[in-house]
Symmetry: C2
Subunit: 207 residues, 2 copies
């Protein structure tokens, strides 16, 4: 019997998954919690084999809770649970010791398979999540195109929070030119807006 515990701030999700699992012969439902504190409270006097954990919850989120749980109870396997899939979150929860990650709208079959795999000590990722992770890691691994001196200069100023006209004034260029450099930055680095650009630049220590 695999003892399963769930922590999620949405009762609907808890109920939904509970009903999906209730007829499974080798799965035992040992309890549920609506937040991180209740979850930690439960494990003071109880245990489980697999914990399904929502990654985004009010207060302490699943990523943080995962780290604490794995530190206290390394034997308990944790399966991340989320409504949407983000390479970043996936990466973070793995770094915090989770054994897998599935979407809340997964099929019953996939959910059960994931629980079994994780319980057996394997890592399990639902198709979509696995792809998102691969994309993310690929993006981290690829080497970056060479930026010209001007592009680096403009990039730094964008990161400082200046707008195109402000940058133009600062380095004595036409706003059109600054805009050109900015577009070249987006194109060269393969990102689609300022947010992605700055995130990449900071993460890769380009600024």
């Amino acid at each position: 019997m695999i003892r399963v515990f769930i922590v999620d701030d949405h009762p609907v999700v808890i109920e939904g998954i509970h009903s999906l699992l209730q007829n499974e012969k080798d799965i035992a439902w040992v309890g549920q919690a609506k937040n991180a504190q209740s979850c930690l409270g439960f494990f003071v006097n109880n245990t489980a084999d697999v914990v399904l954990m929502d990654i985004s919850m009010p207060g302490m989120d699943g990523v943080e809770l995962c780290g604490i749980m794995k530190e206290k109870y390394p034997g308990i396997m944790i399966l991340g649970l989320s409504t949407f899939n983000q390479g970043l979150y996936i990466k973070k929860i793995i770094e915090n010791g989770a054994s897998g990650y599935i979407l809340k709208n997964s099929s019953k079959e996939e959910l059960i398979k994931a629980i079994h795999e994780v319980h057996a000590g394997y890592i399990y990722f639902s198709g979509e999540a696995g792809m998102a992770l691969q994309e993310y890691q690929k993006s981290l691994g690829r080497e970056l195109p060479v930026l010209t001196a001007r592009e680096k200069e403009v990039l730094a100023l964008i990161a400082e929070g200046y707008t195109n006209p402000q940058i133009a004034e600062k380095i004595f260029l036409s706003p059109f030119t600054v805009d050109s450099h900015r577009k070249n930055l987006l194109a060269k680095l393969g990102v689609k807006n300022t947010a992605s650009l700055i995130r990449l630049a900071v993460e890769r220590k380009m600024i």
Copy 2:
């Protein structure tokens, strides 16, 4: 006599500073370079007491060159030189061993004072640059306001490169609501646009 060397890709700047310094009795002009390679080449067979170094140059920039110079010749004092002033650059060049930082449009008096201070082993920052650095360090030191669960969620999705309408669709909210959260993020964190927001978030490891 303080032996001064300058590296800057703009001949105009080299000439300008040269002429400002040529009548100073205790300052000797030992040479100049237009790029990092030439500078390193010069110091193979020569030396100087103070190097004025442009922080943004094509190819290897001043920040990097500064690190190499200080590693090879720790006794040579380096004074960063730039057309505009950025807390980030200032911080980086100090981390790489520079002893000071002034703007290219500084007065003759300030330039000479800076050279003397740096040569004597003191750190020197022109007024503007010093203030920019203080602002920067203050911004790093302050503790961050607490973000709500929704705000963190929206922040993460902005960092992934999604627009407000896309985020709204993804987490089942009105675009207006997402926009509200976004504005609250800017206000809470005291930044003025997405670029600053994402930079802060990544640097402070909020995502």
